[in-house]
Symmetry: C2
Subunit: 338 residues, 2 copies
DNA sequence: ATATTGGATGTAATCGGTTACATAGCGAGG
DNA sequence: CCTCGCTATGTAACCGATTACATCCAATAT
């Protein structure tokens, strides 16, 4: 392995000078710089970052925790983080935590072991206290999901407003019996989306019926199962709002399995606008989040914290928008007055 | 930050002894071991891996290059790699190369910079020569895709045999006009799957018609566009084999867009068995690869190479299987004799 | 009692960089 | 001609671990 020593010897200078060239110090004569650069090229030298990072007490890598790369929602978010990190000379370490606290804790050890300088959570399952403990020692940002109580930076959308918009769209189409397919999870988005659903109903004089609210576990199959019970009701809903596209796909399947059709018999709205939501048929009406910008902003906040050493808590809310496709249609069974 | 020095001081021993405790050296009295361990716990000490790795000249992390985490095929593959790496005390560094040679080269610098000890490619776009250059200095394994010429280890399935099986299934159902939707890419899987398609036809006395072979770029939209031309032919195929599930979804959309139905009018077979292939309706008949084991095996080979310092070239072919779902059906327009 | 041995522990070199401080060399000003 | 000051470069300490080698001590052999 070629080291800075070899380069120094080859160039006939000291290691300090080589280091100065590497770090663009102005205290180097143009000629010696040329000589050193020639030697670097000649030997095909790359500095050993373990040595550099040890000395500088930094690793130039950021931990990014996400539930699983199989969740298609996060790919654009990650892209935003990647691009931003790269712009500032950082690498990211992408880790699947599979929504397991133990996994998250394991990966967080990398901070203490100096393999990473900071961490972005996308959907933490750790408690507010645990997160705040980390944040005492290291920069932390939450992206997408966040823990309301914790005094930690986060960037996210207004899930309640977004869900409100989605349900209002159904109401505007004439629907009055609107089912909800969600989860009883720790994630704030699930709670806020449910709140948005209820608020939209109430604001439009529609009663919230508990039997129309069903909980699954984010999966396709759970969406399917849960929706089946909705569809099989004697007085079934004419529209269903699901808090994720994958669950919405389960809902659509439940509907077609029962011999009904989307949107003719039941309209369906999802959430997230994953790529597949436009590939299925009928294409899914859903809520689109600014995923790239979510990741980008989170990374910028983190790197800012790292640079300044500050721990200022920033809360950023980005806009979302409803994408209307083919899975929603006007209620046509009756001329219900709006 | 608490260092090994602090622990040594707190325990009243030398750093060497602490290090020996950390590394389970037998040359430590049980009592002093206890004292040291108490100090470690007391101070909540974690060794700085930058120091350790520098000294040991290793990083205990493996680079994993994949086109993009948005490709749902790779999530299980990565899981197999992750679990295996973890078992042997390694971390993985997951990198999206977006099928860009420049990106791949950038990430490979991490090897020379000592941030990673070896690399697994899933779908390299670099040339055989470039890959072999890397392999001179570092352990390299190809997983899923590979470059036929290169003398590098790889683990993969027999794509030709798998495609053959898929097409034979269509033939067995009575289909004779079978379309092919593929890509003209650098990836061997695309070539082998096309070969398998052709071989299956020829082996069953069916002529290969160039007009039934269409190329796109792996995307949903390209699958859709390309399939549209197949479906609109006056003498349209009664079945279509696509080399990826995402393309197959495009194909299905093209068919339904034309007012036809799957599988009644046209049967469709995909490839990869991504999660979504069972969520859409009709559920897609497709080829399932042992994704977890692909990743696991690749990682095992890599770590083996790393441990032994050998560069033995291993070529592992795992089994695949056809998963028959609802997108394929018997040809019923005529009683074609088999 | 002394020499020998072997195991536990300590001392210090080392990995490959960065950087504070030391030094050398040169030009300008008196 | 000497001094001062500035700049380019070198020397060596340092980051936090590991580990070869040295040392110390107690137990055993003679």
């Amino acid at each position: 392995m070629v080291t800075i020593q070899d380069v120094a010897k080859a160039a006939g200078v000291s290691v300090a000078t080589v280091s100065r060239v590497l770090n663009n110090s102005p205290r180097v004569t143009p000629e010696t710089r040329m000589i050193v650069e020639a030697a670097i090229k000649e030997l095909n030298y790359q500095p050993n970052l373990l040595g550099r990072n040890l000395r500088r007490a930094e690793s130039k890598t950021i931990l990014v925790l996400l539930p699983s790369i199989s969740n298609p929602f996060y790919s654009r978010v990650v892209r935003g983080m990647e691009d931003t990190a790269q712009k500032y000379g950082y690498n990211i370490m992408l880790c699947n935590d599979y929504s397991e606290a133990e996994m998250e804790k394991n990966y967080l050890e990398l901070l203490k072991k100096r393999i990473a300088d900071g961490v972005i959570f996308t959907a933490p399952v750790l408690s507010a206290g645990e997160l705040e403990d980390i944040a005492k020692d290291y920069p932390v940002v939450q992206c997408c999901e966040y823990i309301p109580g914790a005094s930690l930076s986060h960037v996210s959308i207004d899930n309640e407003a977004a869900a409100y918009k989605a349900v209002k769209h159904l109401i505007d189409l004439g629907h009055r019996r609107i089912g909800f397919v969600g989860t009883q999870s720790v994630f704030i988005s699930a709670i806020q989306r449910e709140n948005g659903y209820k608020k939209a109903l109430l604001d439009h004089g529609i009663e919230v019926s508990p039997e129309l609210i069903q909980y699954g576990n984010y999966g396709f199959l759970s969406g399917l199962n849960v929706a089946r019970s909705l569809v099989k009701m004697k007085n079934r809903p004419t529209a269903i709002f699901a808090i994720s596209d994958v669950m919405a796909m389960g809902v659509m399947r439940a509907i077609t399995d029962c011999g009904l059709s989307v949107p003719k018999d039941v309209s369906v709205v999802g959430f997230d606008n994953i790529d597949f939501s436009s590939m299925i048929s009928p294409a899914l009406t859903t809520v689109s989040q600014p995923r790239y910008r979510l990741g980008q902003t989170a990374m910028e906040i983190l790197l800012e914290q790292l640079k300044n050493g500050t721990r200022e808590v920033k809360e950023v809310i980005l806009d979302s928008k409803l994408v209307i496709r083919d899975s929603t249609g006007a209620l046509k069974s009756a001329y219900t007055p709006v």
